[in-house]
Amino acid sequence: MLQKYKRLWSKKSLKSSYDAVIIGGGVHGLATAYYLAKNHGMHNIAVLEKKYLGFGSSGRNTAIVRANQRTSENVCLYQEGLKLWPELTSELDFNLMFFNCGNLNLAHSESAISALRLQVTTAQFHGMKTKLIDAKECKEMIPALDISDRLRYPIFGAMYHPPGGTVRHDALVWGLAKGASQLGVHIHQKTEATGIGIEKERIAYVQTNKGKIFTPRVLNVAGPYSTLIAAMIDLRLPIHALTIQAMVTEPLKPVLNYVVSSGAYHCYANQSLKGEIVSGSHMDPWPNYTTQTTAHYIKHQAEALTELMPCLKGVKLMRAWGGLADMTPDMAPIIDGNDPIQGFFQNCGWGYFGFKSAPVTGKYMAQFMATDQCPSILKPFTMRRYENHNLMGEIATPVYYNPWN
């Protein structure tokens, strides 16, 4: 039945002070606001968004969720994140469209299989269903895959992760905004943080295009723009903001029942519930703050997709778009607080993993901000790990050093 249109979140006027100011209206900022109000009784909270909710990567990602990362620290967090989807769907009374179709990570060499073996072991150790399968099993699951040796990089096998899948990304943004707003959180769109005031080593206020807000706590969750927020207090971050491009084909009858990804082809794809093949690719490897798309990647994507699944030849791409990913050297986020400035918290550097992790991280980030004690699940993500030479082993290749340093 059609109902009268109702606003999901209410519009409030900007107050001159809040108990906490959250900079960034993406999934991480909204989740933190929601849990601050819900779990910690902090209702006097503002979320500032310079454009509109979901303008950042939260509204541009390909919405894949999974918990089969390489290191234990990461798996624990993503594992709890995966369990939250059904819970959140009923709690927010908003259909997040969690589609638990499972993920297949293709391997195109013996060494790739060995690398996946490590991931499978970590996942199994934590009780996450994940296993290695051979090329024939891949073909049985996805008949459209070409497992012959015609491919430039033939398929050797895959890591199969049944608990993963996709979630509707816009729904998460809107659901969390609705939930937070109902608990009294103020959501201010078109409100840009332009400066942060510090007094006696503590956060004192946030300057915005709509006036000054006094507050003892600030959370930097501006996604790829977090580097620019940190710069407001002269903090440098080990982050590069890189463009990722994604695209969708015209809708097709069901042909791809899993999320499939291939590192060698720099390509991943799944079929949306509407029938479109949603596909993302590698990143433009130079930092910038634009969301430009290029013919280069559309061509790359078309080549990769039709090589892996030849039946897609001739299918039309309908739309392409770009979003930014805040990449750290060890492919793990930076989560910190009260260091070096009291009251300054940050949760950024999520790269292309930050959608699946948002509700769970928001929950623990809220605990951190409310109690000033970092929950142990978040402790490994401190920024100090870089100066302590204690980087996370999320990537199989060594950290990026330049020839000239």
Binding site: Y289, P329, E387
Partner: protein, 87 residues
């Protein structure tokens, strides 16, 4: 729109021919006084200017030269004859 970069030897070429080499960090820190902190600042931390920055590029699919250019990170365009202002 794609990025165009001017190689000092080959001229203006498609950005995808090059490898980005990081923002210009100045000379390597003096090893005698090197602390973990300073090394981390030098190797991992970025200034991430939203605007014009000086940066290194390598002409990977070309003449194999390393060189610096100025580029506006907000528009993704190379900036010619940029005058640096002393900080």
């Amino acid at each position: 729109m794609s990025l165009l970069i001017t190689c000092p030897i080959c001229g203006k070429r498609n950005g995808y021919e090059f490898k980005f080499g990081g923002e210009d960090r100045g000379p390597k820190p003096n090893e005698d006084e090197l602390t973990s902190r300073k090394w981390c600042e030098y190797t991992h931390m970025n200034t991430n200017i939203g605007g014009i920055q000086k940066e290194w590029w390598y002409h990977r699919d070309g003449c194999n030269t390393w060189f610096t250019i100025y580029r506006n990170t907000l528009t993704n365009e190379e900036v010619q004859n940029h005058k640096e202002v002393a900080p």
